[in-house]
C-alpha cells in the first residue's frame, strides 16, 4: 500500500491534488476533510491551534494503517494534518484513500479516523 503522511504548518487546499499517477486498479477515491467549526463546545472561536508529537504521530498512523490494511485492502492513503493556528472554516486534516471498490475505502476511512482520534498524539488547543 502506498502511504503518504504529512504534518504541515501550511493550509490544506480543497480540493487536494494527488501528485502521483493513480494505481491502475484504483476504482474508488474516498476523501475526508476535517474542518474547524466556529464553535468548540459552547465557546465561539476564530481558530484552533494544533500541536503534535510529530515522530510518534507518524509512527502510530503507520501502525494503524498496517493493521487496517489486513482487514480492508486498499491501494493508497494520503494523510495531511495541519499544525499551528487553523482558522475556522479551514481544514485541520485531509485523508484520502484509494481502493478497488468503494466499500473497503469507506470502511478503511471510518476505522482509521476512529483509531486516529483515540491514539495519534496530536492535540488541539483553544
Amino acid at each position: 500500500m502506498w502511504i503518504d503522511i504529512a504534518l504541515t504548518q501550511e493550509p490544506i487546499a480543497r480540493p487536494q491534488i494527488w501528485n502521483m499517477p493513480f494505481d491502475p486498479e484504483t476504482g474508488s477515491l474516498v476523501e475526508f476533510y476535517g474542518i474547524v467549526r466556529e464553535t468548540e463546545g459552547t465557546a465561539r472561536i476564530s481558530s484552533l491551534r494544533y500541536e503534535a508529537y510529530a515522530s510518534m504521530a507518524e509512527k502510530v498512523m503507520r501502525e494503524k494503517i498496517a493493521n487496517l490494511e489486513k482487514k480492508h485492502l486498499c491501494q493508497a492513503i494520503r494523510i495531511v494534518h495541519r499544525l499551528g493556528l487553523v482558522p475556522k472554516g479551514e481544514s485541520a486534516i485531509y485523508v484520502g484513500i484509494q481502493s478497488r471498490h468503494r466499500r473497503e475505502g469507506f470502511l478503511f476511512l471510518q476505522e482509521f479516523m476512529d483509531e486516529f482520534k483515540k491514539d495519534v498524539p496530536i492535540w488541539k488547543l483553544k
Partner: protein, 79 residues
C-alpha cells in the same frame, strides 16, 4: 530519565521537557509520584494521561528505566 511534555501536559508542567532523577527502574505509579512531586499541576491529569517510550505507548505493568525518554500523553484531540 528525560520526560517530554506536549500541549496540555506542557502547559501544566510549564516546560517542554525535564530530567527526572531516577537511580533504578520504577513502576508507573512510582514515576507519577516523582513527577507530581516536581510538577503538582500534573496531578489532576494523572488518571487520563498515558505514557510513551520510544514513540510507543507503554503497556500496563511495564517498568520505566533511568535511561528512558518518556512522553506524557494527555488525551489526544487531533483530526
Amino acid at each position: 530519565m528525560k520526560v517530554l511534555f506536549f500541549a496540555q501536559s506542557r502547559e501544566a508542567a510549564g516546560c517542554d521537557d525535564y530530567f527526572l532523577e531516577m537511580e533504578k527502574p520504577v513502576t508507573e505509579s512510582e514515576f507519577w509520584a516523582a513527577l507530581v512531586d516536581a510538577f503538582p499541576g500534573l496531578a489532576s491529569h494523572q488518571k487520563t494521561a498515558r505514557l510513551a517510550r520510544r514513540e510507543a505507548y507503554l503497556q500496563q505493568g511495564e517498568w520505566l528505566h533511568p535511561s528512558d525518554e518518556i512522553a506524557v500523553i494527555l488525551p489526544v484531540s487531533g483530526g
